[in-house]
Amino acid sequence: MDTKEKVDAIIEKYKGDKGFLVSILQDIQTEYNHLPREALYDVSDNLRIPISQVYGVATFYRAFSLIPRGLHLIQVCLGTACHVRGAPRVLEAIERKLKIKAGETTADNNYTLTSVNCLGACALGPVVVVDQEYHGQMNLSKVDKLFEAEKRG
């Protein structure tokens, strides 16, 4: 299926209701790991929303990325409880390991690193999620171990 067909199918799921633009974009994001320009133009055509408005929505919400995300997503929780338990140091350690800052993707496109505000797992804080897998009570030595494990695949 080409992009237009996929997008039309997604919009059909929401019965072409403009109010679900954000949900529609989320489904496209899940499908392509980002929001391809083509897909946004398809949405604009199908829902009869000016491309400028679609673009505005696509760049306003953090859930969306216009550039492809890495193969693996690493999320570091920076919620208040995790912050108080030392999450910033954990984030810095990961930034050092990957040589990128939060919000960026590694050059080999393997990892995208982001921060998240509260995953609701405060008892395990500081929390790091790698591809939906939760790692709790993180500290610097555990970050080392985590990356060793990642290397081994």
Partner: protein, 617 residues
């Protein structure tokens, strides 16, 4: 599945379901809350199912994954009914023993029981455990008894009886009257009297009217709404349907934060099931009332928790708030009369309808009725979700329920209200918690996040943290918030970085007033609160940072130094190995030394040292 066509039909269905359930047969409930999911509770559930099958006990024993039990610190949690035996930190390896000993032989697996440190006693059931004892789990209690994806579980425990009563024995005005009389105030942070809001919406002349559940819980550190929506979605739905009937709305939305996929899933399943049973959709329970609910997901924007930004998001636009000089109850979603309430607020409604406003208003304080669910997190021994009556004190929550501060450190402050709230110091430990008391003290109730801080927390860093969060989340529409937050944050970064100057505190206070008075929405209006309360109650810390370039909490990197106490150092080399920049040197049997010039203050050595020899000053 035939749709329920009358109140009697619902009651006979309830009887039917309960007849099939023998309360004396063992039922193993496993907590499926987020914390426990992270602990791997799914594997525990699978493990139990396999073991029960292996022992051929399927006909006698039920295994049920339930909503969050609240005691997140000790997950995975397993509660075995009918005795209510409470096992904590259960591993997959423990399962055969549990099934053998507890299920088959009625014996206890001692090591899995909760041990109370103070009393040095093992506790058998939830009711005995201090964490639960002082709680009043009216809303949250059922989480532990039901599988959120089973409407039968909800109906078995009395679910939808309130709806039935509302539709068939009460008029909309009566329902509104009861909610007003109960004193229920919004649980999302605003604390606005729910009944009054419903009344204004009912009186509004335009149609259609919309009813929305705000599940955009954005305060970092707060996850009560999530656990409620994931763990007992029907309680929220029931409240919404009753509310819709009261105000005259036929279209409802649950606006859920993007970061809560499980809540979206469980709410979706709950809606489908309710529709199948005729509890949602056309002609609800044969009453002639129509109401349907759609789920709309957020896109990752804290500001969308604010009502007008939320409406914009549901309308498919960017989450920009607007001046609220006209109430949402007159012009809200699509400029039509709208009632927006928080998840927890809706969950309180069925209770008020069944037990009555009179009963409800006896719980809590004069100005704040009922219970409140808090997420008790941070520097606390018993992290978890607690539901307590309004009027309880911080001391009771933190010490009796929360078990005090880890490692016996000293209490410094408790933060409530998220980025809109404030940090209250020790002198407020005996403050009875309610909406007005917290506001008077300079903080606010907020959605229920309660973050405990100890003496190794820097209050200036906390203020800086919140400003960084808000700067990131500001929609950027109005000048005070967009530009003001940036300037305020820069000043706090300077203070934390050792570049604070005389006059910074006054400048922060002046800018704060520009936001308080000038910003369009609640995000901007309340953004200065963390700064203002920390200045009010911890001014000495600001002054230490600015005047003495010192961080009393030992947090701000630019103002602290890592060194090794030669008296305590055992020359084990752990810090040397851990150091990420080779700043530690030391021969074997010689006390190790940190080269301050190389040190990047990452804290790895502090973490690695088992002898407390690394000192932060």
């Amino acid at each position: 599945m035939k749709k329920l066509a009358s109140a009697e039909h619902l009651e006979s269905l309830r009887k039917e379901i309960n007849k099939k359930r023998d309360p004396n047969l063992p039922c193993i409930t496993i907590c499926g809350g987020t914390g426990c999911q992270a602990y791997g509770c799914q594997r525990v559930v699978e493990g139990f199912k396999k073991e029960i099958e292996k022992q051929k006990l399927e006909n006698r024993v039920t295994v049920r994954l339930t909503g969050c039990h609240g005691f997140c610190e000790r997950g995975p949690l397993v509660v075995i009914h009918p005795k209510g035996t409470f096992y904590q930190q259960v591993k997959v390896e423990d399962i055969p023993e549990i099934v053998d000993k507890t299920i088959l032989k009625g014996e206890l697996v001692e090591r899995l029981l909760f041990e109370d440190q103070a009393a040095k006693k093992k506790m058998l059931t939830e009711e005995e455990i201090p964490f639960y004892k002082k709680q009043m789990r009216l809303i949250f209690g059922n989480n532990g008894r039901i599988d959120p994806c089973s409407i039968e579980d909800y109906i078995a425990l009395g679910g939808y009886a309130a709806l039935s009563k509302a539709l068939f024995s009460m008029k909309p005005e009566e329902i509104i009257g009861e909610v007003k009389k109960s004193g229920l105030r919004g649980r999302g942070g605003g604390g606005f009297p729910a009944g009054t809001k419903w009344e204004s919406c009912r009186r509004a002349e335009e149609n259609p009217k919309y009813l929305i559940c705000n599940a955009d819980e954005g305060d970092p550190g707060a996850y009560m709404d999530r656990s409620l929506l994931e763990g007992n979605p029907h309680s929220v739905l029931e409240g919404m349907i009753i509310g819709a009937f009261a105000i005259g709305s036929h279209d409802g939305y649950i606006y859920v934060r993007n970061e809560y996929p499980l809540a979206v899933k469980n709410a979706t399943v709950a809606i489908e099931q309710a529709e199948q049973y005729g509890l949602l959709g056309k002609n609800i329970i044969g009453s002639g009332f129509d109401f349907s609910i759609k789920i709309n997901r957020g896109g990752g924007a804290f500001v969308c928790g604010e009502s007008s930004a939320l409406f914009a998001s549901i309308e498919g636009r960017i989450g920009e708030p607007r001046d609220k000089y006209i109430h949402a109850t007159d012009k809200g979603l699509w400029d039509k009369p709208t009632t927006l309430n928080n998840v927890e607020t809706w969950a309180n409604v069925p209770l008020i309808v069944t037990r009555g406003a009179e009963w409800y208003s006896r719980i809590g304080t004069e100005g704040s009725k009922g219970t409140k669910i808090f997420s008790l997190v941070g520097k606390i021994n018993n992290t978890g979700l607690v539901e307590v009556p309004m009027g309880i004190t911080f001391r009771e929550i933190i010490y009796e329920i929360g078990g005090g501060i880890p490692k016996n450190r000293t209490f410094k402050a408790v933060q409530t209200g998220g980025p809109s709230g404030g940090c209250l110091p020790e002198k407020f430990l005996d403050l009875p918690i309610d909406f007005d008391a917290l506001t008077d003290a300079g903080s606010m109730m907020g959605s229920g996040g309660m973050i405990v801080m100890d003496d190794r927390t820097c209050m200036v860093d906390v203020a800086r943290y919140f400003l960084a969060f808000l700067e990131e989340e500001s929609c950027g529409k109005c000048t005070p918030c967009r530009e003001g937050l940036k300037k305020m944050r820069a000043i706090l970064e300077a203070i934390c970085g050792g570049r604070g100057r005389q006059g910074d505190i006054e400048l922060l206070e002046r800018l704060s007033q520009v936001l308080v008075d000038g910003a369009i929405c609640g995000l901007g209006n309340t953004a200065p609160n963390p700064v203002l309360t920390t200045i009010k109650y911890f001014r000495d810390e600001y002054e230490a940072h600015i005047n003495q370039k010192r961080c009393p909490g030992g947090v701000c990197k630019a103002l602290i130094k890592y060194s090794i106490d030669p008296e305590k150092c055992k020359a084990c080399g752990a810090c040397l190995k851990a150091c990420t920049v080779e700043a530690v040197t030391g021969e074997r049997k010689q006390p190790h030394v940190i080269d301050a010039k190389k040190c990047i203050k990452c804290g790895a050595c502090y973490e690695a040292c088992k002898f407390d020899a690394v000192v932060v000053s």
